[in-house]
Amino acid sequence: MKQEKTFIAAAGIIIGVISAALVFFGNPVNMGFCIACFLRDTSGALGLHSAAAVQYIRPEIIGLVLGACIAALAGKEFKARGGSAPVTRFTLGVFVMIGCLMFLGCPFRMILRIAGGDGNALFGLFGFALGILIGVFFLKRGYTLKRSYKMPWAEGAIFPAVQIAFLILLAAAPAFIHFTEPEGGPGAKHAAILISLAAGLIVGVLAQKTRLCMVGGIRDLVLFREYKLIIGFAAIILSALAANVILGTVTGTAYFNPGFAGQPIAHTDGLWNALGMMLAGFGCVLLGGCPLRQLVLSGEGNTDSAVTVFGLMAGAAFAHNFGLASSGEGPTANGKIAVVIGLVVVAVIAVLNSRKQEA
């Protein structure tokens, strides 16, 4: 038990350092990793949305899924599973993404933004924790999407295979794949493919082995007084923070900039930062894990999680096609409406799938 906690703390430290290093190697600031942003960029590269500033097949995502897949195969944990309310999970994925793009980051980027000194992310964290508490309320009242079942091996292998296809498309770069023009926005800022891929692979293996989950930390603490996952969460913040300070000292460019205004790929609307992450936190509890965890599970052959990731990608496409995603200037009116609709839809899903259990 103690060993488990040491392992996840060590993994968190490594992940924090890798996240800071990815910014050094070319990723957007405070975006060493961002599952929401990276899935959004990949959606854009595939032409599912046409926001020219955010189109790139992110190798970190490919690495995360394949790293988790390799770790699961090596540990004899790869099992094709599915059939637990896939359409509900897809819908939750869509709205989790809309919440993340209101805030401008998934829970993973939220903690990297905190580690970069972005005070706006603290409003996000507050909303995120609140969303988790609402989710826990329903879990205690018997919320469940019912069980999954064994699936044919090939069914579980499709999602990892799709990642290999993405890698080929990235390397071959055919004309029908959209890439943000140089200096054209966050999509143009990325580390070299092999560095991003290696970073994803390492974090994928570590996340699979440790069951790291950004939503699970606060959730398990509240539900069971269980500290394991929140140790990973805290270790990433502290280690990314330390790595940012060290990188700043060594390179002379500040990686840690405490403040609220002018933070990279962020806005200062505290209320909507909080509400966006509240939607994300609530939705993720109902899904059983944060976007990072969904990627890892899909690498383990969990097709319900694969469907969730497709939902996240579709949500990103909706967010940019309908003008729901925030920008550095702040949230959009459409985005605010979508987040409110999202909170209602997620609450209805929570109510309809909850039943009081007999003790």
């Binding site: 488990e4 944990e77 099992k79 879990l139 059983g288 894990g289 319900d304």
Partner: protein, 68 residues
Amino acid sequence: MKTVDARGLSCPEPVILTKNAFVSKEKEYQVLVDNVTAKENVSRFAVHQGYQVTVKEQGEDFVLHIRK
């Protein structure tokens, strides 16, 4: 002996079902799960609650015997 079937359920439902079952204060429980994460999570929770856990593999599933 009370049996909890938590196979196929998402996190953290297997632990919640186990926690709810413990309310009946029986001496022995059997919890069925079908993945390593749930096995670890239920075992950890039961041990924290002062139970002893032994795990048996049964085909694709794990059977957790939980005793005071």
